[in-house]
């Protein structure tokens, strides 16, 4: 069932490719604007690269959060999900996985290419990609909680950013920190381990919290 729901969301995303592409292009454009804005000074670009890429990834994954549950809410599918004999947490985990595959994975794949604009070394690019690979699923999982809480509210899009962006801060610090640490020769293992720990905690706790929030929102 978990894979059925993921499969369904991927199918829906395939039928509406524009939604997927807007997120990716947003990411590409935001990351590319900085070198144009601050000028071609290599050492400055290198130091700001991890932060810029990570902030852009947060905002890009934020963009598509609103759609995570709202279309299912409007057409009544969400009601049926609440009435499913399957565990709602598992369904939510399936939806978060689909959200990550559609919005997170393209960012991870694109990041090394964009990193070249900032003259990052091969090692730094590798660490940047690894940190995004561990961090972006956490963004989808935490974002699901925010999306569930703001379901059906007017101006939910703005509210969800206010709710969720503060919760993203630890991921941002350790994600960008991993690249900085590796560039400084300290090794990124500690930062990446912490990101992995965040991911495990989010996989266990976030679907359950989201399920409870959905039940509250639907009452």
């Amino acid at each position: 069932m978990f894979f059925r729901i993921t499969q369904r969301d991927l199918l829906l995303a395939m039928r509406r490719r524009s939604d997927v592409l807007t997120t990716l292009f947003f990411f590409v454009i935001v990351v590319s604007l900085f070198p144009l804005g601050v000028g071609p000074e290599m050492s400055m670009l290198r130091t700001m690269a991890p932060g810029v890429v990570w902030v852009a990834a947060l905002l890009a994954s934020m963009l598509s959060l609103g759609r995570m549950f709202s279309s299912d809410h409007v057409d009544g599918t969400l009601e049926q999900m609440l009435l499913s004999p399957q565990s709602l947490s598992l369904l939510v985990l399936g939806k978060a996985l689909a959200h990550w595959l559609v919005t997170g994975v393209p960012l991870v794949l694109m990041a090394p290419v964009l990193g070249i604009q900032y003259d990052l070394s091969a090692d730094s690019l590798l660490v940047l990609t690894a940190s995004l690979l561990l961090g972006t699923p956490v963004l989808s999982l935490i974002g699901a909680i925010g999306a569930a809480l703001t379901l059906g509210l007017r101006g939910g899009g703005v509210l969800v950013s206010l709710l969720v962006l503060p919760l993203y801060i630890p991921i941002l610090i350790f994600g960008a920190g991993a690249v900085e640490a590796s560039a400084a020769g300290l090794g990124a293992a500690a930062h990446l381990s912490l990101l992995g720990a965040f991911l495990l905690a989010a996989v266990v706790l976030a679907p359950w919290t989201t399920a409870v929030s959905l039940r509250i929102s639907m009452e």
Partner: protein, 206 residues
């Protein structure tokens, strides 16, 4: 076969009391038609019966246990079709039926789903995206779930809206067969429809 019981149900919306002191008991083969004017709380009552809303007072029991304590076990016995169809515009009728059934706990293979849609008069249209279907056809896609599910209790909120006379007759037959097999139906409708049942009760909300 378990019994559905409502005990002293009260529904409060805002500061208005929609209904109170509702008692009923529904056994195998029983049909309950919920009537009443617009805004009298029919949908609220049905949402309570499927656990989407909590009654302000009283409780609902399935086979003697409170439905919220049963959780998934109750949902495996129950099918709820509400006002919202749950039909996705971008998916075909066939995909819609298969996915919504899977979500409700019954995996349906493509040929069985195809047959159900055929029976609902959607033969040849099952591979079209739902967005090109008419209101009545979308309703038929939604109702096709009743043909493939194997739940005991059906809770149907205005199942016959937007259907033409032939489809109403078809649904009447489907519901009668379900009741004959010992199923139970709770439904609201504004249409006059005679459904043969072992025991029919009418619940009138003021």
């Amino acid at each position: 076969m378990p019994t559905l019981q409502g005990i002293d149900l009260t529904c409060i919306r805002g500061d208005r009391k929609l209904f109170s002191g509702i008692h009923f008991s529904l056994d195998a083969g029983g049909l309950m038609q919920v009537g009443g004017p617009n805004g009298s709380g029919k949908t609220s009552l049905l949402r309570m019966l499927c656990g989407l809303a909590i009654p302000a007072h009283g409780e609902i029991r399935w086979g003697g246990s409170e439905i919220r304590s049963l959780g998934g076990a109750y949902y495996a016995d129950m099918t709820y079709l509400g006002h919202l169809s749950g039909v996705k515009d971008d998916l075909t009728a066939l995909e819609n039926l298969r996915i919504s059934s899977a979500l409700a706990g019954t995996e349906v293979d493509a040929s069985k789903a195809h047959d159900a849609l055929q029976l609902m008069g959607l033969g040849g249209r099952d591979l079209l995206p739902a967005k090109v279907l008419s209101q009545g056809q979308r309703r038929r896609v939604n109702l096709a779930r009743l043909l493939v599910c194997n739940t005991v209790l059906w809770i149907l909120d205005e199942p016959l809206t937007a259907l033409d006379a032939a489809a109403v007759k078809l649904m009447q037959g489907v519901m009668e067969r379900h009741l004959e097999k010992g199923g139970m139906i709770v439904m609201t409708t504004h249409q006059e429809i005679e459904i043969a049942a072992a025991a029919t009760q009418r619940l009138q909300l003021a």
